[in-house]
């Protein structure tokens, strides 16, 4: 009888945790992180992902860092009157309940100067830092997205 108490308590605790929402990682859900494979010698690459803020409070993506790259910036590709501009953004707001996509032709992680050649299938760890003080290590998969011929 006594032996069952800890198990029951654990189950209750688990139930409460789920019911009460944001655990340590439940705030921002990050899906499908990937890096576009670049031609050999390319000095700048782009990283993409989807960020869903599942919490009730606004949060923002502030920084991205990786040992694999010299430096990472948050960039937005803008198209104005047929002209393409790439601009650095200071942070990316993630309103509660919304999904923000880093996708080709729009927001991207601007990955400067890879320290080693990256080929499709490689994994790259990038640390994302958020405005709530949390940081997350994420594995980005390098993908070759050329059309097969």
């Amino acid at each position: 009888m006594n032996r069952r108490v800890p198990a029951a308590l654990a189950a209750l605790a688990a139930l409460l945790l789920t019911a009460c929402g944001p655990g340590p990682d439940a705030g921002v859900l990050i899906e499908d992180p990937w890096i576009r494979e670049a031609p050999p010698g390319a000095r700048a690459l782009a990283g993409y992902m989807r960020l869903e803020n599942r919490g009730d409070a606004p949060v923002a993506l502030l920084l991205a860092n990786s040992d694999t790259f010299e430096r990472i910036e948050l960039h937005h590709t803008l198209q104005v009157d047929g002209t393409m501009r790439m601009v650095e953004v200071d942070h990316v707001p993630l309103p509660p309940g919304e999904t923000v996509a880093f996708a080709p032709g729009g927001l991207h992680l601007m990955l400067f100067t890879p320290r080693e050649p990256l080929r499709a299938g490689d994994g790259v760890t990038i640390e994302l830092t958020f405005s709530d003080g949390t940081a997350r290590d994420l594995r980005f998969e390098v993908r070759d997205v050329r059309e097969r011929r």
Partner: protein, 207 residues
Amino acid sequence: MNMPRTHLLIVAIALLAAVVGFLAFRDAPPPSPVHQALTLLPEPRPLPSFNLIDQHGEPIDEQALTGQWHLVFFGFTHCPDICPMTLQTLAAVRGRFEGEGAGRPGVVFVSIDPARDGPDMLGDYLAYYDPDIVGITGEEAAVAEFARAMGVAVIMGETDAHGHYNVDHTTAVFLIDPEGRLAGLFRLPHRVDAMAQDLGRLIGSRG
């Protein structure tokens, strides 16, 4: 009693409409092909002349853009988002015309950042997408003049603390006809299917 007369009137009006319609459209030109992605110029325009170098370091001028259709795009290799997407699309469009000989469009990439995109850099970069893509670079002033003459906006960004800069540029893809004239352009978004269909129709109609 009035019914037959009304009917007659309707028949007469219908006949008249048919005759007017026939006369109006008899001499009209056949409808021009409907393009999904391509904007054709009313009249093809001669290309500005240029003297630049290709990715092998060989001299290249406007004569290289004759003899087949060409798709010309201006970009730079430090651009990891739009430029790869466009090159990938153009390589795929070209892939759709495999085995069509002179009917197969050529692809040309002009670097608007020749200071960083020398022939070697350009050669490696373009070969990843298709070794047959022609890369054009050269003296900064000469490249800038060619871009300007083509109506391509090029805005060199400021160099940041890390020595990096961006180059804002026109994203349109120019279509050059086999006589080496600017025939039209493809604006964003660049989609393989739409571009290949438009090109196929145009190449088919002009032989």
